[in-house]
Each structure stands twice: as structure tokens, then as C-alpha cells.
């Protein structure tokens, strides 16, 4: 057995890490957070040039034909570097959704451009205030056009196209590909909690839409499970960075004549972070296995990874500030960049309560006698 990534995958991970370190991804996060740009185009282009957007796309569609495991290690490093780029929207979500579909025309048209970074995609799903249940979708598709409003769409003001969930008929939810420069699209950029990642409300009014599937609820659930594993890796990367920040600061900060890292209150706080992080990481590895094998355990494994990674990143980013004392609460220190990102990633694709409920639902199903 090898319940770990392969040497090649770990090498790839190291390469991504090196790039993000060299490019000072955390500093770039701050620049986007404080500036006017919606994302860091320079960093994005470097990731594209490295081939990362092409990772899971088969060679026949212009990709490099690797798998989800490679995407997992990339996600972890993007999380560690809290990178200010639309990778999760375009790669975890839009690319995966198209890869999942059987619409050969769409694949041929979009995958090569996604691989080359020529276009950026996103997934527009949330409406009003909660992550939607099947009955909560009001955007409607009819005769190749969609009408309605999606809220807080990640990268909604960056992406060239969006996959949009919409009612396709009686009790059916379909999935549609919409060109965001098309007629009847109105995009409102939002002021958000983590301005290093752009979000927008998007209204559609008789906007032309290509159908991926008219009966897509199960596809959407699967897409969420798949992306949940990738988001979880991103969260684990961020959590580990925050834990290490806390530890490093505590080792170098002196109070009462000793490094504060020698006080049990601090040691046990960091040990708690470590425990939370290890549990999350191990659950993520299982999620990665289920994801890459398209295993029937995916719904359970994805929810488990997602719940524990959300917990780990929130706790590590929160207690990292506390470990830094007053300096941790200043704008100047980087602690808050991780805290903001932790909160953002908790909300994207549905928050903690939703995933805990999903987890138990999937366990009830798998434990049922049938």
C-alpha cells in the first residue's frame, strides 16, 4: 500500500510551492486585497504556464492528462500561499463539470481554452442566502435562454463563462453554460470579507445558454463532492501555514524572560492546532483516494474531508492571531489574510452545517440495510 502521494506528485507539489514562495504569493494576496485588481493576473499566468490549469484535462482536449491527485497537491499549495487567483472556480468547478459531462461539443470548444488559460470559468449556484437545496433554485431555463439571479458568485466578475444551475422543467434542475459577455447578463461586483478573491452577483435576462444536462441535480451533487475534496486540500494548506506562523512567532517572541513558546498555554494551543490539522489531512487523503478512484465512498469521504478541513483552517487561523497577541490583530501582519481566507473557504460551496448534514445523510444511506 501507499497511502500517500507518489514521488512524482510530491515533486509537482514542491514545484508549485517553490513558485508560490518565489512569487511571494502571500504578499500578492495583500496587493489584491488592498488594491483595485480583481485577481493577480501575473501569478495566474505563471500558474497557467506551469500547466496547472491543464492538469486534469486529457491530452485530446489540449490538456496534460493527469488526475485529481495532482490537483489535490496543487490545491494544498494554493491554500498555503492563499493565492489570489480564480483557480478553484475555473479548475475545481468549471473544468471538472465539463469533464464530467457527456456533451462532446462543449468539451471540444471549452476544454482546450481552459487548459491554455485563454478563458476562465466559474460555477454560479447560490441564490438568496443559503446554499441551495433542490427546491431552492429559482433561475429558470427555457428554450435555450435563462433568467434569474445568482448571488455571490466566486470570480463572477472575472470569469468568461459560468455554469449555471437552473430549473429546466417540472421539478428538474439543469446545468447550463453561459457566456458572461452575452446579452442580458448583468454583473455586480461585491465588496466582500476576503477581497483577495473577487465575487459578484449575476443577473440573467433571457440570456442564451448551452445545455450541459437538463436533469443535472445528481451531477451537481457530485461536482460539489469532487470540489469539496479539492477545497479541503486548499484549507489544509492554509491551516498548516497558519499553524507554522503561530509556532514560529511563539519561538521568537519573549515575555517574562522566556520564549512564549515555552508556556503551556501556547504549547497546548499549537498542539491542538496540530491535532486538528492532522485529522483533517488524513481525511483529505482518504477523500483524494475516493475522488481519484471515483469510488462510491466519495460522498462520505468528501464531506468528512470538507468538515474537518473547514474546522482546522478556522481554528488555526483564529488561534494564530491570538498567539501573535496585539500584533496579530494589526493590518500590517499577515495573520488576518489567513483568517479571511479561512472564512471565505468555509462559505464557498456550502458551509459547515450543510456539510455535516450531508455527511450524516450519506452515512444513513450507506448503513441502510438495502
Amino acid at each position: 500500500m501507499n497511502f500517500n502521494f507518489s514521488e512524482d506528485q510530491l515533486l509537482m507539489k514542491e514545484e508549485v510551492k517553490k513558485l508560490l514562495d518565489k512569487e511571494n504569493s502571500v504578499k500578492r494576496n495583500r496587493n489584491v486585497l488592498e488594491g483595485e485588481e480583481k485577481f493577480d493576473k501575473e501569478l495566474w499566468n505563471q500558474l497557467v504556464q506551469m500547466g496547472l490549469t491543464a492538469t486534469t484535462i486529457p491530452e485530446e482536449y489540449g490538456g496534460i492528462g493527469m488526475g485529481f491527485l495532482e490537483l489535490c497537491v496543487i490545491a494544498e499549495e494554493l491554500g498555503r500561499g492563499i493565492a489570489p487567483v480564480p483557480f478553484s472556480s475555473s479548475v475545481y468547478l468549471a473544468t471538472t463539470a465539463i469533464l464530467n459531462s457527456s456533451n462532446e461539443d462543449i468539451k471540444k470548444e471549452f476544454l482546450p481554452k481552459l487548459a491554455s488559460g485563454e478563458i476562465i470559468g466559474t460555477f454560479a449556484h447560490s441564490e438568496k442566502t443559503t446554499f441551495p437545496s433542490e427546491s431552492g433554485i429559482s433561475v429558470a431555463a427555457k428554450s435555450g435562454k435563462i433568467t434569474g439571479k445568482k448571488v455571490a458568485v466566486p470570480d463572477g466578475d472575472i470569469a468568461n463563462f459560468a455554469l449555471v444551475s437552473a430549473t429546466s422543467g417540472k421539478n428538474k434542475i439543469g446545468l447550463y453554460l453561459v457566456d458572461l459577455s452575452a446579452d442580458g447578463v448583468e454583473i455586480d461586483s461585491l465588496e466582500t470579507f476576503d477581497p483577495s478573491r473577487s465575487h459578484a452577483d449575476i443577473s440573467f435576462k433571457n440570456t442564451p445558454a448551452q445545455e450541459l444536462s437538463a436533469d443535472a441535480w445528481e451531477d451537481i451533487e457530485k461536482l460539489l463532492d469532487q470540489s469539496a475534496v479539492l477545497f479541503a486540500f486548499e484549507q489544509v494548506g492554509g491551516a498548516e501555514a497558519a499553524m507554522n506562523q503561530a509556532k514560529d512567532y511563539a519561538m521568537g517572541r519573549y515575555a517574562f524572560g522566556r520564549a512564549i513558546a515555552s508556556f503551556q498555554a501556547i504549547k497546548h494551543k499549537v498542539a491542538d492546532m496540530y491535532i486538528s490539522l492532522q485529522l483533517a489531512r488524513s481525511n483529505c487523503y482518504y477523500g483524494a483516494w475516493a475522488l481519484s478512484n471515483d469510488a462510491p465512498e466519495l460522498p462520505t469521504a468528501a464531506a468528512t474531508a470538507r468538515v474537518s478541513a473547514t474546522k482546522a483552517f478556522y481554528e488555526c487561523s483564529k488561534e494564530n492571531i491570538q498567539t501573535h497577541g496585539g500584533m496579530g490583530a494589526t493590518w500590517e501582519f499577515d495573520c488576518h489574510l489567513f483568517y479571511r481566507r479561512a472564512r471565505l473557504l468555509s462559505s464557498n460551496i456550502g458551509s459547515q452545517g450543510i456539510w455535516k448534514d450531508k455527511l450524516i445523510t450519506s452515512l444513513e444511506k450507506s448503513n441502510s440495510p438495502t
Partner: protein, 414 residues
């Protein structure tokens, strides 16, 4: 076991109420606040209008004998009992009145002047402080000395009758609009840590004092760094003996910890209302057992703090002095604030990320809570205080006692 005033207390409360009713507007809802004419924009300090209004209200109170009412009449107070002070606070909080600028002066600088200043100084400085004419700040924390306050390095050197101050303070709220400050400095670097400190008050307009705002993670800037370059302080403004500054500081800190109150921001009521309005998984959030259980936990904490305060006031009314037990208020309320804010954002799910009327208070609280968990004593320092001062458990092992200060590692190495 009753919440009723004694006869004297009731009479006093009536008197307070008549004056307040005649001079201010009653709140319609408990959450009403005073809004200055010119509102401050987000992230700016925008205090000019708020400060003007606050000074006007404080002066009005002063003229009618309602400022610092537990202070002696000679220094601008009313010689009121501690319970009368509590009653005043309870009643004033029912009115829409400005405030927020005088607490540090009146709560910390005032008491220390009362103990250590000359009679002449008290007569000079306390009445304008009570009236709100002169504002004071507290210059204690330094970049390398937060929880370990005695680790400060700002240097004070005596030449003749004049001290020269060099160094840097941090986390000074209100430094930018203060007229005077209280400051603790190190006058002897070769003495043990707690023995080489000396305490002063100074004019914040003195040459060599430079104030720079600190931007917090909320985007606001309520605190400052203050730099001292060859700032002169006459020896007559020393409070306490040379080398005795730690003792003087302790008086001030005790008052600081009493002054720290509930964390402002979202509390039970906000999350309760949100849970009633919000959908969760296709149903009303408040009908979900997980939400109900969390609400119950927070209600119990909020209620527990409320009635702990009542018990403290009651003890005050019976003549006791409140002790460090009040530390629990800050630990519990700051963590509750952070938890509620985060949970509220969970409930609002993806939409919580956008800043709008509904999310703003949850977002603001989530960003503000970390600072509250640190300001005026971190969770960890306050738990030490509870263990040591309330429960009588031993101090942590101290490696910095009886060692010359300049041999002790301090501050930050990265």
C-alpha cells in the same frame, strides 16, 4: 433576593432620571445609539464631530454635578457612593448620549493622580478631566512588552530636575486627540525588571512626541503608536518614587481590568433574530436542533454574565469592592462574540461573504473579536489572573526575577 432599590437608591434614581429626561433623548430601543451629526466613514477615525458632541455633553453633566460623580467635590465630582455611580450608569445608558473619549482619563489617569499627585496638581488637572475639557491617554504597552508589561524599554534619564524620554509605546487609544498622558518608563536598566521603572504624566503636545495610527484588521484605526524622541518631562510630573513605577502601574492596571466591559458586536439577540429569518437546508434555521442548541449555549453565557454583573453590583451596594472576578466577563464575551459571528456567517452561507446591511455586523464582529480577545489582557493572561488572584494558585515559574533587566531576553526575534 430582589432587584429593588433601597429607599435612598430609589430617590437618587428619580433625581438622575429627571435631570436626564430634561437634558437628553430617551432611547426607543435598547440598541439605539447616539449618532453625531457628521457620521464617520468606514475605516476613518472621523472623531471630530463625535468628539465635539461628547465634550459638550460631558460639560453639561459637569456643570450640573453629574460628572465623575464618585470623585470628591473638590476635584469636580459629587462625593457619590459606588452604588450611586452604578445607578447613574444604568440610567444614562437608557438615553441617547455621546461618549467614548473620557474613560481612560477618568477611569485610569484620574485615580492614579488622586493617589500620587500633589494637591496643587489634583486641583489643576482633575476638574478639566472630569469636565471633558482635557483628554488623557495611557502610554503603557510597547512592541516588546504586551502581556509582560514590566518588560518595557522606553528610557527615562534624569538630568537636574528634568527627565528625558526616548522610546516607543504602542496600542495607545486616543493618543491623537489627547492632551495629556500617563506613562511608565525604565529609569534603570541594570536593576531587576520590576525595580527600575518610573511613572510620569506628560503633556502630549510636548516636542518630540509623535503619534501614528495603527491600522487594525477591521480596517479601522482606534489605536496608535507613539514615538518619544528626547521628550522632556519635569520631575514634578513624576508619580510615585523613582524606581517605584511598577507599583503605580498596578493601581492603573487594576482599574483597566475593571473598565473592560462586554465585547461590542453581535450577541444572542442578533443570532436569535438571524436564526428566525434564515433558511437552513430548506427549513427555518431556528427549527433545526443544531441551531437551537448553539443558541441555548450562548443564551446561558449571556445570561450568566448579566447576572454575574448584577451580583457584583449587589455586592457593591452592600459595601464590598469588586475584585478580579470580573475577568471572566471579557474572556467569555470576547469568545462568544467570535463564535456567534462565525456561526452567523455559516448560517448565511455563501452570501455571508458579501458585505451588506445584514452581513456587516457579523463580518465586523468576526474581525473585531480577535482584538478584543487580546486588549486589556489576553484570554491566557486573564485565566492566569483568575487562577492566581481569585483561586490562590501559584504564579508561573519566573525566570526574570532578581535578574538585571538588561540580561533578560525580551520582545520579538522575528
Amino acid at each position: 433576593m430582589d432587584f429593588n432599590d433601597t429607599k435612598d437608591e430609589a430617590k437618587f434614581r428619580d433625581e438622575v432620571n429627571s435631570w436626564l429626561s430634561a437634558n437628553a433623548d430617551k432611547k426607543e430601543h435598547a440598541k439605539d445609539i447616539y449618532r453625531p451629526a457628521e457620521m464617520s466613514g468606514e475605516g476613518e477615525s472621523g472623531e471630530s464631530s463625535a468628539l465635539k458632541d461628547a465634550k459638550a455633553w460631558q460639560a453639561k453633566k459637569y456643570d450640573a454635578g453629574w460628572a465623575c460623580l464618585h470623585w470628591p467635590k473638590d476635584y469636580g465630582g459629587r462625593d457619590a457612593t459606588p452604588m450611586e455611580r452604578v445607578i447613574w450608569g444604568q440610567e444614562e445608558s437608557k438615553f441617547k448620549v455621546p461618549g467614548g473619549f473620557f474613560e481612560i482619563g477618568q477611569g485610569m489617569a484620574g485615580p492614579v493622580l488622586m493617589l500620587y499627585a500633589t494637591e496643587e496638581q489634583k486641583k489643576r488637572y482633575l476638574p478639566p478631566m472630569a469636565k471633558g475639557e482635557e483628554i488623557w491617554c495611557q502610554l503603557f504597552s510597547e512592541p516588546g512588552a504586551g502581556s509582560d508589561l514590566a518588560g518595557i524599554k522606553t528610557k527615562a534619564e534624569l538630568d537636574g530636575d528634568t527627565w528625558t524620554i526616548n522610546g516607543q509605546k504602542v496600542w495607545t487609544s486616543g493618543a491623537h486627540y489627547s492632551d495629556y498622558g500617563i506613562i511608565v518608563t525604565r529609569s534603570d536598566f541594570s536593576a531587576p525588571k520590576h525595580k527600575g521603572l518610573t511613572y510620569f504624566f506628560l503633556d502630549m503636545k510636548s516636542p518630540g512626541v509623535e503619534v501614528r495610527p495603527i491600522k487594525q484588521i477591521t480596517g479601522g484605526a482606534n489605536f496608535n503608536e507613539v514615538y518619544f524622541t528626547d521628550v522632556k518631562i519635569p520631575d514634578s510630573q513624576r508619580l510615585g518614587e523613582i524606581g517605584d513605577g511598577w507599583k503605580v502601574s498596578l493601581t492603573t492596571l487594576m482599574n483597566e481590568r475593571l473598565a473592560v466591559g462586554d465585547a461590542s458586536g453581535v450577541d444572542f439577540q442578533e443570532i436569535f433574530e438571524l436564526a428566525k429569518d434564515q433558511d437552513f437546508n430548506g427549513d427555518s434555521a431556528i427549527s433545526n436542533g443544531a441551531v437551537r442548541e448553539k443558541l441555548a449555549d450562548w443564551y446561558c453565557e449571556q445570561s450568566g454574565l448579566k447576572y454575574t454583573k448584577m451580583r457584583n453590583i449587589s455586592a457593591l451596594s452592600q459595601g464590598s469592592t469588586p475584585g478580579p472576578e470580573a475577568s471572566i466577563t471579557k474572556i467569555v464575551s470576547a469568545n462568544k462574540l467570535q463564535d456567534i459571528a462565525n456561526y452567523g456567517m455559516d448560517l448565511m452561507d455563501n452570501a455571508s461573504i458579501a458585505r451588506d446591511e445584514e452581513t456587516a455586523i457579523f463580518q465586523g464582529s468576526l474581525l473585531g473579536a480577535p482584538l478584543i480577545r487580546i486588549a486589556g489582557g489576553t484570554d491566557e493572561v486573564l485565566k492566569n489572573i483568575i487562577a492566581e488572584q481569585v483561586l490562590g494558585m501559584p504564579q508561573d515559574i519566573r525566570v526574570d526575577k532578581n535578574v538585571p533587566f538588561n540580561e533578560i531576553p525580551t520582545g520579538s526575534k522575528n
